[in-house]
């Protein structure tokens, strides 16, 4: 076979190059469509809500008069619910993830559990709300409280935390585990001194992504019966008298940001739509801030770790 003339080769290469350029442009357009739509939505929300984003908006209770209404009870409620969610989902999720990855024997039973943990992450959130209504609100008698809401959202994000924990643990090389074992470490020492600290970045990321999902959830919270109009704050957790800590707030009724938003958008008056947009901006900023925190923490922790 004689080699192809150089001119032919060049033509061929030019044709290949053309496809490369076509794809670059198509890909860029695809990316821009997604980004611009989101950016447009967010800008519109921000512009609409901006006039209402005053300090009073954060320190006022909801009101029948749109201009006087604020999100005080909603953001405090969101914060406290997230606190309960974090305090229950982190220990449960991390312990379950560590058990599944490091301790559980590898057999058909654990394989089924594994698959189902993944499936749980896809269960619609309103199902969790129904479950929680029966279990926490009525069966355990927690009522329509911050505790019930926090636990419901904890259930919701538990699969996310478990899956993130397992993936983070799996990233620790076997040779590091063997190094610990070879020095006489027990499995618990290997896990607690090495594997968990080294995967803390990944675990934290999973936890925060779970929490930022939970903070925007509306359906399950409505299902368990959160109130939409709350003109008082929960009992403060810190008191003047011994023992200075109070857990009464766990049993208090509450509302959260997305529910407050939902309430306002369902009002006929135009002025309340502005409030809804402003609350939406606050919710979005909180979510983005949590994601940013996740990225920063992961960067901080991973910087130290080289395999």
């Amino acid at each position: 076979m004689t080699p192809a003339p150089t001119a032919d080769l060049r033509k061929l290469i030019a044709r290949h190059r053309l496809w490369e350029r076509v794809f670059t442009i198509v890909g860029l357009i695809a990316l821009l469509i997604g980004l611009l739509v989101l950016l447009g939505l967010f800008t519109q929300l921000a512009v609409t809500g901006a006039p209402r984003l005053t300090p009073e908006f954060f320190t006022s209770f909801p009101s029948r008069i749109a201009e006087k209404a604020g999100i005080l009870s909603a953001w405090v409620g969101s914060l406290l619910v997230m606190l309960v969610t974090a305090c229950s989902a982190i220990p449960l999720g991390v312990a379950a993830g560590v058990y599944l990855e490091e301790y559980a024997p590898k057999n058909w039973l654990t394989a089924i559990i594994e698959i189902n943990v993944m499936n749980l992450a896809g269960v619609p959130s309103i199902i969790y709300g129904l479950l929680a209504l029966g279990l926490f609100v009525y069966q355990f008698g927690f009522g329509q409280s911050i505790l019930s809401a926090g636990l419901t959202l904890a259930l919701l994000i538990l699969p996310i935390v478990i899956v993130a924990t397992r993936e983070a643990l799996r990233a620790v090389p076997g040779i590091i585990r063997e190094a610990a074992y070879a020095l006489g470490a027990t499995r618990w020492q290997m896990v607690s001194h090495h594997v968990v600290p080294y995967s803390a970045g990944g675990i934290l990321t999973g936890v925060i992504i779970g929490l930022s999902r939970a903070i925007g959830e509306t359906a399950p919270i409505i299902t368990i019966g959160a109130l939409t109009f709350i003109a008082f704050l929960p009992t403060p957790p810190v008191t003047g008298e011994f023992p200075f800590l109070s857990f009464q707030w766990l049993k208090d009724p509450f509302t959260v940001l997305p529910i407050q938003m939902f309430n306002w958008t369902s009002r006929p008056e135009e002025a309340f739509q502005l409030n809804a947009a402003a609350a939406g901006v606050v919710l979005l900023v909180m979510t983005l801030a949590m994601n940013a925190l996740a990225i920063w923490l992961r960067y901080r922790i991973r910087r130290k770790i080289k395999w």
Binding site: P173, I176, A182, L183, G184, K304
Partner: protein
């Protein structure tokens, strides 16, 4: 070849130090599930000397080494038969009644690739002590310094003990792993191809180090590098397909091997 060893075992302490036994495998068989990886291996490990295990890839030399600290216990489906007796206690460390953690506290290991923990240099060396519950700060500091000196690393790292181990060069990291293995005062150190990831200069320093260490401890080393076995070891075992073909003095094995198969291997005719 092993008869010599059994004689010494019968009269412990009466023989010259050079011939004293540190450990001995007796009719050791090992299975990975259905795969019979080690077949009836009987080998002595002499104290204060270096015993090298050579053979082609997959011959079972690493598998054999990892029996000595019960590393195989970590994974399901592995099965030992036979004994590995540790002297002078005269205990079978493969016995089910012996806790593998106790074995690993007495016999330490250096791996093929440097595997320091992503912690400080100090914490790496001190980890074996931490596992043993030794917490007195001054004692730990003394031990860490001794171990780092023992691994010929002290002068390079004494001013930066709190730096991350990952910042060290490959050769330094492997010496750090040796220091980590030394800090627990092991009776026997297992080296699993310790220089396969290192450049020739780092390799030379690790070899030199092993020659110094054998004054204090027994060393069992797996190497795929026959020159390395010839340079550092006192005794060499040639393994092939899970069996010991020949065990001999290193000099004898590399110059006048008893077995034709050994000669073929060391002259590069196969493997």
């Amino acid at each position: 070849m092993v008869e010599l060893a059994t004689n010494i075992f019968d009269a412990p302490g009466s023989e010259p130090a050079t011939a004293a036994l540190k450990a001995e495998s007796r009719h050791l068989n090992f299975h990975y599930g259905a795969f019979h990886a080690l077949k009836d291996i009987s080998l002595p490990v002499h104290d204060h000397s270096i015993t090298a295990l050579i053979g082609p890839s997959g011959c079972g030399k690493s598998t054999f080494l990892r029996c000595f600290n019960r590393m195989h216990d970590l994974y399901p489906g592995n099965r030992y038969q036979g004994e590995i007796v540790l002297y002078p206690d005269n205990v079978d460390i493969l016995a089910p009644s012996v806790d593998p953690i106790e074995v690993r506290m007495r016999i330490s290991m250096v791996f093929q690739k440097p595997n320091p923990f992503p912690k400080s240099i100090f914490e790496n060396v001190a980890y074996g002590l931490k596992v043993r519950g030794i917490t007195q700060r001054d004692l730990v500091e003394t031990k860490v310094e001794q171990a780092l000196r023992g691994a010929a690393l002290w002068n390079e790292v004494k001013d930066r003990l709190n730096e991350l181990a990952g910042n060290l060069s490959g050769g330094q990291q492997q010496r750090l792993c040796i220091a980590r293995a030394l800090a627990i005062d092991p009776e026997l150190i297992l080296f699993d191809e310790p220089t396969s990831a290192l450049d020739p200069i780092a390799t030379a320093s690790i070899e030199e180090l092993m020659l110094e260490l054998k004054e204090q401890v027994a060393i069992l080393i797996v190497t795929h590098n026959m020159q390395q076995a010839a340079r550092v070891s006192d005794h060499t075992a040639f393994l092939y397909m899970g069996e010991v073909i020949e065990f001999n003095d290193t000099k004898k094995l590399f110059t006048m091997p008893d077995k034709k198969q050994t000669e073929d291997y060391i002259t590069g005719r196969f493997g």
